[in-house]
């Protein structure tokens, strides 16, 4: 049989050499593409790693700052209790130390007295006393005698306010009346400032016998005219018109001429200085700050609220 011999491999491979070259080229191309892609991925990954390293360094720096702040805040909280605790142990005005040029510090000694320190600036103490017959249950505020049913219309209710200028950077002791008998209702203000003259005043009320009393216990360590975290409207209202702060309130309840009687004192500090806020509060209020106002930093974490463009007055 004489047929043309089919060249087995060579024949099917007569396209072989080119096919093989093509196949080789294709496989090499795919391989190269894969390698190129891998190399690209690896280099991208390295860049991301470098970025991560930088970000970690930055994050750790920021976190260290925040941790430092948090620790300082906690320590300051504990410190506050100690400051007020020491103030409570001052038995006369001379005992009060020069605590700070920036802070008002105030603490009562039960119902007996209020001890406080005022910083630099002009400050005035306002003592407001209201007295009058009270309802038999001690939840009402002093009412005028006309509201007592069928009472004799002797007018014994009244009020009086005293304002006392306070030399700056000094400590003060306001002693409240300690009436166990029929003593006059006298308050007495002393200071550790050498030029301050002791001031004592009594109320035109006789025959009051104290049976009970209530009083605030809140200690204060803060800037004068302090603004806490408030709305934009309140900020606008606070600039240039600082409102002062309530230091203490005491209510003596008892009897006068066998009628229930009450004497209430409200003690406020009015400071002639801008409204202040702490650095922490300023940060919180930043996002709704009214356009025409700005904060001026004055040291010790204290910011003063001013109109934009207003010169900082020296405090």
């Amino acid at each position: 049989m004489m047929t043309d011999p089919v060249e087995p491999d060579r024949a099917s491979g007569s396209r072989h050499p080119r096919f093989r070259v093509f196949r080789f080229a294709a496989l090499t191309a795919i391989g190269a593409a894969l390698l190129w892609y891998t190399a690209g991925q690896v280099s991208k990954k390295r860049r991301e790693e470098a970025k991560s390293t930088r970000l970690i360094a930055r994050r750790d720096r920021y976190q260290a700052k925040l941790d430092r702040l948090e620790n300082a805040a906690e320590e300051a909280d504990r410190a506050r209790r100690i400051i007020l605790g020491v103030l409570r142990e001052c038995r006369v005005a001379e005992d009060i130390p020069q605590l700070s040029k920036h802070h008002v510090v105030s603490q009562n000694q039960s119902s007996r007295a209020l001890l406080f320190h005022v910083p630099s600036g002009k400050h005035v103490l306002e003592i407001q006393a209201k007295w009058g017959p009270s309802m038999a249950d001690s939840s009402a505020t002093p009412k005028e005698s006309s509201q007592i049913e069928g009472a004799r219309k002797t007018v014994v209710g009244g009020e009086k306010t005293w304002t006392i200028p306070l030399p700056a950077h000094s400590g003060y002791r306001l002693q409240m009346p300690d009436t166990r008998g029929d003593d006059a209702l006298e308050w007495r203000l002393t200071s550790n400032h050498k030029d301050f003259v002791t001031r004592a005043e009594d109320l035109p009320v006789e025959g009051f016998r104290r049976i009970g009393w209530s009083y605030g216990t809140r200690g204060i360590v803060g800037f004068p005219n302090l603004i806490r975290n408030v709305s934009s409207k309140r900020l606008q209202a606070a600039v240039g018109r600082p409102s002062g702060q309530q230091l203490w309130e005491v209510t003596l309840s008892g009897k006068r001429q066998d009628q229930p009687f009450r004497v209430r004192y409200a003690i406020r500090l009015i400071s002639d200085c801008p409204a202040y806020a702490t650095a922490r509060a300023v940060r919180q209020m930043r996002s709704w700050m009214p356009a025409g106002l700005q904060w001026d930093y004055q040291g010790a974490g204290k910011y003063a609220l001013r109109q934009r463009g207003q010169n900082s007055a020296t405090d």
Binding site: K44, Y62, A72, R88, E89, Y303
Partner: protein
């Protein structure tokens, strides 16, 4: 189809390269995700610290100064307290039958209130008994005689309830009473005489809320000559949120000095 060794090799190589490519892509994605997460964290922290506003970049430093100013005041206050303590703790003994005492300044204790501290000079020729007891809160006590006349509970909300007494030897003594609040539901009242523990009594309730205390006070030395009754020192009550269910069962602790013993037990001291 028949595969030559070369082909097999080539395909294996390709498969290897593909898996390498896939792995590197996966690793890249992970790394990118990590970088994104870190970026989020950093953005958050930058916002907290107001880093991007030129006006507020230093705000965190100012906040630090805010706290440091308070710490500076604390140091001034502590310094002054040392002087106050010296000023208000001196005691001059009088004679063989006069007891003298001073109410000493105290500082707030971590996790507790200020406490009470007394310096007591016991004279040579006068017996002095220190007493402790738990009694109904509604009976008021202001003098040693009133205290001696009270009916005391040996079983009450305070554990232990006593009553206890001890004879104070002649000489200088310091009595310290601390009211500690380890948790919302417990108070521990510690009694220390001359730096040694006399007694620790505790009270536990659903929620403890304040309380009240009355103590002998005074800015100066107080003397009790032989013909005068020895002083009552302190009465304290623990407040419970919502009040005590039965006012008659509400306990109070009193501490006082007395001229004669009441046949109470001795203070437990350090043994628990």
């Amino acid at each position: 189809m028949r595969f030559s060794l070369q082909t097999v090799f080539a395909i294996t190589l390709l498969v290897a390269l593909m898996s390498l490519a896939w792995k590197s892509q996966h690793a890249n994605e992970l790394e990118r995700a990590r970088a994104n997460q870190l970026q989020n964290e950093v953005d958050n922290l930058e916002q907290l610290l107001d880093v991007h506003h030129p006006e507020t970049r230093d705000a965190w430093l100012h906040e630090l100064e805010q706290y440091q100013a308070v710490l500076a005041m604390r140091d001034i206050a502590l310094d002054r307290f040392e002087k106050l303590y010296d000023k208000y703790s001196t005691l001059k003994p009088r004679d063989g039958t006069t007891l003298s005492m001073r109410f000493l300044p105290t500082l707030p204790v971590q996790g507790g209130s200020n406490g009470f501290s007394y310096r007591i000079w016991v004279p040579e020729d006068r017996p002095v008994w220190l007493k402790f007891g738990v009694h109904p809160a509604k009976t008021s006590v202001n003098t040693s005689a009133e205290a001696d006349a009270l009916k005391f509970w040996s079983d009450s909300a305070y554990d232990p309830s006593g009553p206890y007494e001890m004879r104070l030897p002649a000489g200088d003594h310091r009595l310290r009473i601390l009211n500690k609040a380890p948790t919302d539901v417990t108070r521990i009242i510690q009694f220390e005489l001359d730096h040694e523990s006399l007694l620790e009594t505790s009270i536990t309730a659903k929620k403890i809320n304040g309380g009240s205390a009355g103590s002998i006070g005074g800015d100066d030395q107080i003397d009790f000559p032989g013909d005068q009754m020895l002083p009552w020192l302190l009465t304290l009550q623990t407040g419970i949120e919502g009040g005590w269910p039965d006012e008659d069962q509400k306990p109070a602790i009193s501490v006082w000095l007395s001229d004669q013993p009441s046949q109470f037990q001795g203070f437990p001291g350090n043994d628990d």
